[in-house]
């Protein structure tokens, strides 16, 4: 074990001296990942009860999920709301982030702080407040109402990602384009947008996931035939452990892992 005696830091520690750190870090990473992954094999169990490892394998819970009109309708609602949220939050957030970053107006800092308040206000408060207000204007249980609320939760994330992308981008390029006769809008679409497009895609995915995974507002504001997947899942979790959830969870994990790997891939491309 020669490697253990090699220096590991700038303070003359060897990898051997660091072994405890490696062990702790490995355990913590293990604890972070395993709970999520263990759901996958369990979803293929044949049993009513959640046993590990499953004694008999089957696709039973997947059939249960795909053949249930309740789960299918909820999945469709969640996908629909997620995509619409993405389409609303991304342009809204990009516009706001660009406006506040480029304009040196005194109020822009204050406005930025105001626009990211949805991240700070406890979601439960937004949820019951929106439920109450929507009750007045008849927006409860509607797709539009849910999308609007989700977009407000997602747009601060979009703004933060885009602002940091604009920081790494040289705005003078846009000025050059404009001095050569391009309008501001043209300069943005032809010069700036192509250079921050990876960040835009990243935050679009984030916006989708924010909506798709959102629980609390969905519990209050969605309902009837427009109830979301998370609303049904939460109800199922609170009352009894339905193994169908394991199958749904596995699908959700695959979706989020794919999106995560996509963003990693995108940011690697952007660095090049």
């Amino acid at each position: 074990m020669n490697w253990l005696k090699k220096p590991a830091s700038d303070t003359q520690l060897t990898h051997g001296d660091r072994l405890w750190l490696y062990i702790i870090a490995t355990i913590v990473m293990f604890l972070l990942v395993i709970p999520t992954l263990i759901v996958m094999p369990m979803s293929f169990s044949d049993s009513q009860y959640l046993e590990f490892p499953p004694s008999n394998w089957s696709m039973r819970w997947y059939y249960e999920y795909f053949e249930s009109s309740k789960w299918m309708r909820a999945t469709m609602t969640s996908l629909q709301v997620g995509i619409l949220t993405m389409l609303l939050a991304t342009p809204m957030g990009v516009m706001a982030a660009y406006a506040l970053f480029v304009s040196g107006h005194r109020a822009s800092k204050l406005l930025f702080a105001f626009l990211i308040t949805p991240m700070i206000v406890p979601v439960i408060l937004i949820a019951i407040g929106v439920f109450y207000s929507y009750g007045r204007v008849g927006l409860n249980n509607t797709i539009f109402g849910l999308v609007l609320a989700h977009a407000v939760l997602a747009s601060p994330l979009v703004m933060i990602v885009i602002t940091s992308a604009l920081r790494n981008y040289d705005l003078n390029q846009e000025r050059v384009a404009r001095s050569l006769g391009a309008t501001r809008i043209k300069a943005f679409f032809v010069i700036t947008l192509p250079q921050i497009k990876f960040s835009v895609v990243t935050c679009a995915l984030l916006a989708f996931l924010t909506s798709f995974d959102e629980v609390i507002i969905s519990i209050f504001v969605s309902g009837g035939s427009n109830a979301t997947l998370t609303k049904h899942m939460f109800a199922a979790l609170r009352d009894f452990i339905d193994p169908t959830i394991a199958a749904i969870s596995t699908i959700m994990i695959l979706v989020s892992t794919t999106l995560l790997l996509a963003t990693q891939f995108i940011s690697a491309r952007e660095k090049k």
Partner: protein, 307 residues
């Protein structure tokens, strides 16, 4: 930043004369306003979804059952022991979760910060994967792992750690385990960021001047990593204060946090005034903690500047 940029003049292609300075400044201001107007949709959306609804709750919390101004909802909070207990539980759970996150998150962030960047990026997936996975899925996973005849109990009994199944879920233990798992990335990510910025040369210099590795760590490295740690802990703590799903599922009704209490009041008593008052107090407490902490630790840059 670019408030007085010359770009708007560029199109005319002439050097501005002092004479038209006034009109140019007016143009500049007009353009600034035009730009700011791009933020209008976001602004209106936040007003519709956050300001008006929360304002309404604020109003409801100060309204008695007769529709007149009254403090009855806030009096209830002082009179009923269960409300006070809810706040104590909320703080207890939030503080404990934050401490657990620091204890297991610091070594992990340190480990990642020591690795070459490429390798750290790979191991970082262990933090990002749960971060991107639905909170509901992770809560469900812990429910499965921790239940009476769950995997953890089976495993511990088979290797002889304990003899009869322990009660690990539907109580405080389960809540803390689940919440720490969900909150850990919020601590590790900013902490890792601030650790990456520490210059390795400083540690080198310290050991050159005779500091032992332990001394160098505590005197040089640790103080410099504090800003990231405080920022991360603050995010974790504030998120914990308003947490709903995990305590509701893993606490099994035994861990009543403020948010759980609010929904219970609405579901059972339809008492909007009392629920709103609890929510308003939660919001005010959150705001005070955030304001004080950002002032004391000068966190603006750490929280909002770099991400």
């Amino acid at each position: 930043m670019s408030s007085h940029n010359t770009a708007s003049l560029g199109a005319e292609g002439r050097v501005p004369e002092p004479l038209n300075e006034k009109s140019l400044r007016a143009q500049d201001i007009q353009e600034q306003r035009l730009l700011l107007s791009l933020a209008t949709p976001a602004l209106l959306a936040v007003i519709a979804i956050v300001v008006i609804p929360v304002g309404w709750l604020f109003y409801l919390s100060f309204t008695g059952s007769d529709g007149q101004f009254s403090l009855v909802n806030y009096q209830k909070m002082i009179e009923y022991k269960s409300y006070a207990r809810t706040f104590v539980t909320t703080f207890e759970v939030s503080i404990l979760t934050t401490l657990i996150c620091i204890m297991i998150g610091y070594p992990l962030a340190y480990f990642l910060a020591m690795l070459p960047e490429r390798l750290a990026g790979f191991f970082m997936l262990a933090v990002l994967l749960p971060f991107w996975t639905s909170l509901l899925v992770r809560t469900y996973a812990w429910l499965v792992l921790l239940q009476k005849n769950g995997i953890l109990n089976d495993f511990a009994m088979s290797i002889g750690l304990w003899d009869s199944p322990l009660k690990l879920v539907h109580n405080l233990t389960g809540t803390l385990i689940g919440m720490a798992h969900i909150m850990l990335p919020f601590l590790v990510l900013p902490l890792y960021g601030s650790m990456r910025k520490i210059q390795r040369d400083l540690m080198h210099a310290a050991s050159n001047l005779g500091a032992s590795p332990v001394q160098a760590f505590w005197k040089i490295y640790f103080p410099m990593s504090l800003s990231g740690m405080v920022a991360g802990s603050l995010i974790v703590f504030v998120l914990c204060l308003g947490f709903y799903v995990t305590p509701a599922v893993l606490g099994g009704g035994r861990v009543v946090m403020v948010s759980t209490q609010i929904t219970a009041i609405l579901e059972n008593q339809f008492d909007w005034g009392a629920a709103s008052a609890l929510g308003v107090v939660l919001l005010v407490v959150t705001m005070i903690i955030l304001t004080v902490a950002t002032k004391v630790f000068k966190l603006d840059a750490a929280l909002f500047g770099k991400r």
